[in-house]
């Protein structure tokens, strides 16, 4: 029997799928009962706390095999990737930049950004936070916490604020509230990107913001 899952902060389809015993997030995302949500959230990696996901019944797979032999079964565990492009305020990518990252699971990894300034690290499904050291800075990362920019309850702006702050605009805390800092940060984006300057999160500005941020 299908169940309903209410999304919590930091969850994504892969995490929810794994929780209910699915190795592939598409089993949930592509399920017909989630077609409305799919329209609302075209990016399965960016969902909003409070979204309702229908979790289909997870059928037990049966495989008839002869007894008396040794059989090997391979289970694919879901994996995610942390992908961040680092750049300066002038848009210069931090290429071949060494970094160290420690996940909340205790796992540590060293690496170097690519020629495109991209950090690309596999993340276990049960890792929710990380501390990253790069360019003589220490950053705390909330993994999977990025919220959508639109179609959210009570006009929550936390996804917009998070992108503004990631892009170096001081939008204040990601509290979802449209205040003076969020308004001025949006206006700055509009000035710098040659958009109509009104300080409002209109569709054109949000599309530009997502393009600048990469998601």
């Amino acid at each position: 029997m299908a169940k309903k899952h209410i999304v919590r902060q930091g969850e994504c389809f892969s995490r929810i799928a794994a929780r209910y015993g699915f190795t592939d997030w598409r089993a949930l995302y592509d399920h017909p009962a989630n077609s409305k949500l799919r329209k609302k959230r075209p990016n399965p990696n960016v969902i909003f706390p409070g979204d309702t996901i229908v979790v289909p019944e997870n059928r037990v797979k049966e495989e008839p095999l002869p007894t008396g032999n040794l059989h090997r079964f391979v289970v694919h565990s879901p994996s995610k990737f942390l992908r961040i492009v680092f750049q300066t305020p002038k848009g210069v990518k931090l290429t071949n930049e060494p970094y160290s990252i420690r996940f909340d699971s205790g796992r540590t990894k060293k690496g170097t950004t690519g020629g495109d300034g991209l950090l690309n690290e596999p993340v276990a499904i049960n890792e929710f936070a990380a501390t990253l050291s790069i360019d003589d800075r220490t950053l705390s990362l909330n993994l999977g916490h990025l919220n959508p920019t639109g179609d959210v309850e009570e006009d929550d702006l936390s996804g917009i604020q998070a992108r503004l702050n990631n892009l170096g605009y001081t939008a204040g805390p990601n509290d979802g509230i449209y205040g003076r800092n969020t308004r001025s940060a949006l206006a700055l984006v509009q000035v710098e990107e040659d958009l109509d300057v009104n300080g409002l999160p209109d569709q054109t500005t949000l599309a530009k913001l997502e393009a600048l941020h990469g998601c």
Binding site: I84, Q87, K110, L167, G168, G179, E192
Partner: protein, 163 residues
């Protein structure tokens, strides 16, 4: 290894909410590191006490970024006429800022709504660069510039700089 561990254990400079992606996807997050340099021109000895260093605080209006410079800082330059000082603030993020000066133990806002963008900083419609080129912003009497809307800034709660 110890040094790396120390760095990862340090107090974070910033916290970021990021998305995770599935294998093979090309989307990503972008994080901009650092900020721009902003030079604030102010009159010399704004606190009216020639025996005490002027303390100048550049503070984002959200209060999540601030930095204090003293007039005795070797990075602070004086104008040829010796009447103005130029306070260089580094790695300032984009946003709206106030400039406060400590006068008689109180922080007084002398510039409101300083807009810092990636290209330039502005006071109103005037780029700060032009203000620097023309001399200090017209601040004749800093005591008259106690924030007209908000009153004196209480740095015991707003400012993490210890003043």
């Amino acid at each position: 290894m110890a040094a790396e561990s120390d760095v990862l254990g340090a107090e974070p400079d910033a916290t970021h909410d990021v998305a995770l992606f599935n294998p093979g996807e090309s989307e990503h997050n972008t994080i901009v590191l650092g900020g721009v340099d902003v030079v604030i021109p102010l009159e010399l000895d704004m606190d009216g006490d020639p025996f005490q260093d002027d303390a100048v605080c550049l503070r984002s209006q959200g209060g999540d970024w601030e930095h204090v410079m003293l007039s005795s800082d070797p990075e602070v330059l004086s104008a040829p006429d010796k009447r103005h000082l130029y306070y260089p603030f580094h790695e300032v993020p984009s946003g709206l800022f106030n400039v406060d000066v400590r006068i008689a133990e109180n922080w007084v806002t002398v510039i409101s709504n300083l807009l810092v963008s990636r290209g330039a900083a502005y006071i109103g419609d005037t780029p700060l660069d032009e203000t620097v080129a023309n001399g200090s912003p017209a601040i004749d009497d800093p005591h008259a510039l106690v924030d007209r809307e908000e009153g004196p800034v209480d740095h015991s709660t707003d400012c993490g700089c210890g003043h």
